[in-house]
């Protein structure tokens, strides 16, 4: 299928180090889910523990079965350590 939508993915903390990027623009096929994006594009570099991390879409926590839309802002949220 043609990859004619684009989402922005943000990385923080050691996820940014592992990706060597804070932000990546990813072309996707329409109907792709958050889970597909993570699995197909990022898990190899983020490491297997990233399967257990949280993710957000458009600044809101999101489940992996969420279909992504053109222009969405996805964020990869490794375990937090604020305080």
């Amino acid at each position: 299928m043609e990859k004619n939508i684009t989402v922005t993915t943000l990385f923080f903390s050691f996820a940014a180090d592992r990706m060597n990027a804070r932000q990546i623009q990813v072309p996707l096929a329409p109907g792709s889910t958050l889970g597909q994006l993570i699995e197909e594009q990022f898990v190899a570099r983020l490491g297997p523990e990233s399967q257990n991390w949280l993710f957000s879409v458009n600044q809101e926590w999101a489940s992996r079965d969420l279909p992504l839309q053109d222009g969405d802002e996805v964020a990869v949220i490794p375990p937090v350590s604020g305080g």
Binding site: L10, F12, S13, F14, A16, D17, R18, G47, E49, S56, Q59, E60, A75, I77, P78, P79, V80, S81, G82, G83
Partner: protein
């Protein structure tokens, strides 16, 4: 009044005192988290705080709503500072005003617990010796050099 935000300037306790002042509130509890000079026995010179600011501020606001629902409190300040903070600097402030002290204490305790558990903020420790490492990064070596 509620204040929920991420800041880069120093945390201002006096601003929080003003924000929660209320003649109906007999109890005020403040929690300040401060950058320590060590972590798990290893000397540190400070912490860099990374954050996903937009989601972090939403999550702070959500925690404020939860605390108002769970406890009999009237005013709440949840502020986290981000960026490079040297040892001894305050990184987080929870301030609560309530009619009476049991709810003020419980809400402040819950407030900092929930901030630490859920708000997308991350610490990178500037060790005195050796390269910086992120907290909770399973792939990082925390060995002392």
């Amino acid at each position: 009044m509620n204040i929920t935000r991420l800041i880069t300037d120093p945390i201002d306790v006096n601003e929080a005192l003003g924000a929660i002042a209320d003649p109906e509130c007999g109890a005020q509890v403040f929690f300040l988290g401060v950058v320590r000079n060590e972590f798990e026995g290893r000397a540190s010179q400070g912490i860099f705080y990374d954050a996903y600011v937009s989601l972090a501020e939403k999550e702070l606001a959500r925690i404020a709503t939860e605390l108002h629902d769970a406890f009999d409190i009237r005013h709440l300040v949840l502020v986290h500072r981000i960026g490079d903070l040297p040892v001894g600097t305050a990184s987080v402030l929870v301030a609560v005003a309530a009619g009476h002290r049991p709810d003020a204490f419980r809400a402040a305790k819950e407030g900092i617990d929930r901030i630490k558990a859920r708000v997308p903020i991350w610490k990178r420790e500037h060790w005195v010796k050796g390269p910086d490492t992120w907290h909770d990064d399973a792939s990082a070596s925390h060995d002392v050099e």
